[in-house]
Symmetry: C2
Subunit: 509 residues, 2 copies
């Protein structure tokens, strides 16, 4: 089979996959339980450790006097920029946060429900580099960013456009957010994330959303997310808390996430890292409720491990995977929507290591009950590199996880007792009526895996999965068509971007 025909076949397979997942499936509602690995006593011990960290060690809130004032008024003990919390204070504040909420997309069919039993897959976030098999690794550009928005929009297995999918390093640091938000709104009609790297960039992002959704609608509904990182251990920087408060003020959802590499920004023991993470996240989430009670907020978590011989961070390893299950349990006890885990790897290539690590990590997100899975696709080299091929492989895995989350249906049709009577011992089920009635929806159909007999695979060029992914992303970009956007809104957005860019001198750091 020549390359063109093969690629065409893969595209048709992808389309079938899309239909099997069903139109109007903008996110997944899980039909499998969460995997709860710790009992009540252990969970209480972790919560008690968190309470002690909050009360005895405390958290620093840097460069945000307003936040300190809010903590003081809420009853926390503020000494300089150190804030200590009596047990129960943060939990009380968190009671006003919604257990789940809708993030509206500009195409209403793509709006996602975040929280509860719902699962949303979003692309990876934040890489300065991009890579593909043809050109290797280089700094990301706006063109790369736009490519990834197109690839995400085209995938039947992702649900969200993500945020800073890669850094558009050819655009000044203080203007990138404008081009990124514009790309999300022009090239995609799914939910997306805005900038958080400065308070005014957060506000620009939200303002652009208002131009699309309307000012009043945005005040009452979530249309944009902001990913807010703690400066672990136990520090919240003002840049982040001001952005967090900007999102909350606008009734938009902050995703509140510590970043803990065990042994560096936290203890090497998983239970301790989780206790720390819980402290940092509860404080960040509670601050959104001080800014605007009832604002949506997502309880985020990011655990990783370290190679303690070299000091290198490691990703997709077993300790964070199993730790995620505990985080899921703790988050559910707070009744908040959760972001946890993703498709992590330290590999530099879309190879066996990348997919082993990514799959272990992604399965932990699925099992722990995560609602919003950032970093679902593309991540390589510890988030330093966004890979075109891994993006396609990961999105294919996300397709498999749709079927996984559907669980096992147990009803008369699925049990097929009559089919055994029809077929009888020793005969095959290929053409039986039960097979004919069920085969089209029976099994996940990968767009990238090769399941052919060896000889057919050999005749088709002995490809590995990275090579097939390379062909797939090129074909997807070639076939991409932008979703419709009202021309008046497009004009308005472009004018806004041009005006804001003109108001600022370029900053490159």
């Amino acid at each position: 089979m020549n390359e063109h025909r093969r690629a065409g076949r893969q595209a048709r397979a992808a389309e079938r996959q899309s239909k099997a997942s069903g139109p109007g499936r903008p996110y997944i509602m899980r039909n499998i339980p969460t995997y709860d690995i710790l009992g009540e006593e252990s969970l209480r011990k972790i919560e008690a450790a968190t309470d002690r960290i909050l009360a005895e060690t405390g958290l620093i809130f840097r460069d945000d006097p307003q936040a300190l004032e809010m903590w003081r008024k809420a009853g926390a003990k503020v000494t300089g920029d150190l804030v200590k919390f009596e047990p129960g204070l943060l939990r009380d504040l968190l009671r006003t946060a919604p257990a789940e909420f809708t993030q509206h997309a500009r195409n209403p069919a793509n709006s996602v429900r975040i929280g509860g039993k719902n699962v949303v897959f979003a692309p990876a976030y934040g890489s300065p580099f991009v890579a593909d098999l043809d050109k290797g690794r280089r700094f990301g550009t706006l063109a790369d960013f736009q490519n990834f928005v197109k690839l995400a929009q085209s995938s039947p297995n992702l649900h969200h456009s993500g945020g800073t999918i890669c850094e558009p390093t050819d655009v000044p640091v203080n203007k990138r957010h404008l081009d990124m938000v514009l790309a999300h709104l022009e090239l995609s009609d799914r939910g997306f994330m805005g900038s958080v790297t400065a308070e005014d960039r957060s506000e620009d992002s939200i303002e652009m959303a208002r131009m699309v959704f309307g000012r009043d609608f945005v005040d009452q509904n979530c249309v944009i997310l902001g990913n807010i990182n703690a400066n672990s251990p136990l520090v919240w920087d003002g840049t982040m808390t001001k952005s967090l408060r900007a999102y909350a003020r606008a009734n938009q959802a902050a995703v509140v996430v510590p970043f803990i590499l065990g042994g560096a920004m936290g203890p090497v023991t998983t239970a301790g890292a989780i206790a720390q993470s819980l402290a940092e996240t509860m404080a960040g989430c509670a601050l959104t409720q001080l800014e605007r009670p009832g604002a949506p907020v997502v309880f985020g978590n990011f655990l990783s491990s370290m190679n303690l011989r070299s000091g290198s961070p490691t990703f997709g390893t077993p300790e964070p995977a199993i730790g995620s299950m505990v985080v899921g349990q703790l988050c559910r006890r707070l009744n908040l929507p959760m972001r946890c885990a993703g498709n992590f790897s330290a590999s530099k290539l879309p190879d066996g290591q990348a997919m082993m690590e990514g799959t272990m990590s992604m399965m932990s997100a699925i099992h722990c009950g995560t609602n919003f899975i950032l970093h679902s696709a593309g991540w390589l080299d510890g988030a330093l590199t966004m890979s075109y091929e891994k993006f396609m492989l990961d999105a294919d895995l996300c397709g498999a996880l749709h079927s996984y989350l559907d669980g096992v249906v147990v009803d008369d049709n699925a049990l097929a007792v009559d089919a055994f009577a029809e077929v009888g011992p020793g005969n095959h089920f290929f053409g039986c009526s039960h097979t004919m009635a069920n085969y089209q929806t029976a099994f996940w159909d990968s767009a990238l895996s090769d399941n052919e007999p060896f000889e057919k695979w050999e005749a088709a060029g002995r490809t590995d999965s990275a090579t097939r992914a390379n062909r797939a992303w090129k074909m997807t970009l070639a076939e991409y068509e932008p979703p419709k956007l009202d021309e008046g809104i497009r004009e308005g957005l472009r004018d806004f971007v041009a005006r804001r860019k003109a108001e600022m001198a370029d900053m490159w750091y």
Copy 2:
């Protein structure tokens, strides 16, 4: 870094990994719960469907009049070679089977406990082909078989020598079992599996075990396993049941396994395939108890899916993975040791597809509570090919799963509350006393993953994980040293093999 130094570093990493896992850790005792995905009502529905299949459709037992006679005496309804079972009959018979048992290894330190909370990793089984990156795919030989026994014996992450790791196709079909059992006993001192392809080959295998362990000991203890496959759907062939009975008669453990590709040897719906599997496995396991009540037996399961466009079987897909969780629940209700899932893939190469599929499948074995995980390492191309490189990558994954199964320890040391007080907000944990006290056992240390910074990885030759695995298996074979074996026993075994070979004409099919 040159290749030699890099390989040496990997070997040292592997050695450290071995020590971290601990000497005297011949198998794993799981410290995480099983992942139970169905509730009581759904499980009962599946069991009721199984009861109907057994009572209304029945199973065929071909070419084994003795088995039919045993079923008749046990109260089953036998018509020709069709056997039907009233609900409850098989469950009653299974009550004499032990819930767990020890398989003794010739090195007592390597004996494994099968059942309960214990997990044993064994290599893949049954491939006619082998492959490596240098020479591609070719038929397996006895030299390949011996290589894989050596690789398994050398791995700190596997616990068992397995069985027909690959077919030694250069040895006549009727004599292979002698060379394979000899290799397991000479080149490994771990538990192993004997032949099942004919009753006399089963008995030869057990006889060789008796020469090592002693006749009386073998009569009272399990020292060899036999993997017995149903001819799904709903057929047991006499070759298999006679071998099954030979193992049971000798008080050795049959591993009883259907082989169901949904849509071919069973329904396309997972619940139906599970109901069928339960029927086939319960019948096979019960037959061991008719042969010898109290004989150890392992409840086996093998689910897979199919590409319903091409008819190709698929492996490592989500439906069998999630189905395994249900099988685990059903098996625990029978109180039997379980074999389920493994490191499956349809890929022809040790690439991203192979490790994505393998990891998803292997995680299902871990979550569903499997006790004996056959096919833990090496499997490619739907079991047609045993891959040297995938063997090493899979064994590395097995190392990660040791840490995964250890779960999350929650005690004062792990919670590290004092460390937060010592380190304080904003400071790193690199040198703190908690880190120094815990770092050596904190994180799994992969022997094959590259976690180095990009520049170091680039300078070291930009290897992918398959290339590193290629170096690792060569070095492992170069450094392999056989375990000690009493010379008298060795002589006896070799004489036995020579005598049995001389007694038979070569058969090549």
